[in-house]
Symmetry: C2
Subunit: 220 residues, 2 copies
């Protein structure tokens, strides 16, 4: 199949394929625009189908398409955290951050709109999806730190750092993706070590985690 | 006037007084419950007036009352940042944090509901109010640091720390206000110094700010 050939006719795609095609079109639009700026006509046009067809697959209209696109993006984002549990730990974090920042780069306007809140498509469901990604990120980090039962101070430190990373991503997008992603990534890794250090001064568990992280085996 | 006497009759209050009374009742309810759990009947009952009277003052109903209450709470929160620009700087930050944490303590459920997002009363207007408070907090900190034109790295560091403080407040509420507010405050101040230290390694302006902050004059 020539890659540039447009999808020829409605009946050629299965229900699942059609759904995936509409979702891909929606994702492409929602990634780079605020949800307010995406209409169902835009999605239909991007997918090369009619508006009624979009409604047949997504009877809930834009809200349903947005939530489906968000779920799909959240799934992609979770994959950014997949990192083999071997080798020095700080470089593992750096690699996950590289993938995360690439994701932010590719979903810029949609990412900002989602996290800045107050959007018409924001509901308790969309908030729950975003929160699920945050929780997954925290669980990943704690599991890489190999802490059996992380105490409240360590957990709080990890969650605060994740929020700070989110804030950094939004500011980074606001400032035309400056500083370069590699510099931001190193800055964020260094911040992680620094805030662990602050918590280590008041929490033996965090002190042990930090000592292990700073050992030649893990500093990378 | 005996403080325990209920407000006696409708006509005794001026329009402004009545509005303020309804707003106070709404604030008290929205502070401790999610907006979904506050009805106009609750506000009417808390103010000791009828539901139609609430509508006469707030024809937009709950949404309008919520936004008015939020504006009033945001104003209170901004006052937490008021701190004379004299004396050592870190204790100034500690005092502002004490007031901020007292505010969080007093507006617990409402604060959580507001910042967790996805609420039915959340709009681009409510997000703008919250963002205005964040911006004010950043401006206050930068002005106390006496930096004329803060560069992007210093600004980003301050904004990331503010977001981390917000995250800490939400987790703190989630965890039954543990650790005690004074301990959390010291932890947050130490984190501020630590993240400035990370940025100082890659930004001369932040290095100068940090050197000044750590001097005996300002460390407190």
């Amino acid at each position: 199949m020539a890659p540039s050939a447009p999808t020829p006719a409605y009946r050629r795609l299965s229900v699942e394929e059609r759904r995936a095609q509409l979702l891909t079109a929606a994702l492409g639009l929602f990634a780079h625009r605020a949800p307010e700026e995406v209409s169902l006509d835009d999605v239909a046009e991007a997918a090369g189908v009619s508006r009624p067809l979009v409604y047949r697959y997504f009877p809930g209209g834009k809200q349903q398409l947005y939530e489906a696109a968000l779920r799909s993006a959240a799934e992609d984002l979770r994959h950014c955290f997949d990192e083999p549990r071997t080798g020095p730990r700080l470089p593992r974090l750096a690699r996950a951050l590289d993938r995360y920042l690439a994701f932010v780069d590719q979903h810029d306007a949609g990412f900002s709109a989602l996290l800045q809140g107050g959007s018409v498509v924001e509901t308790s469901r969309t908030s729950a999806i975003v929160d699920g990604v945050r929780r997954a990120a925290a669980e990943h980090i704690l599991s890489h730190l190999e802490v059996d039962s992380p105490g409240p101070r360590l957990r709080m430190t990890v969650r605060m750092w994740i929020t700070a990373v989110e804030a950094a991503s939004l500011i980074w997008l606001d400032e035309g993706k400056q500083p370069p992603a590699e510099e931001l990534r190193d800055w964020l890794v260094d911040q992680f070590v620094a805030v662990l250090g602050v918590t280590a001064a008041r929490d033996p568990q965090t002190a042990a985690v930090l000592a292990e992280l700073s050992s030649p085996r893990h500093a990378g």
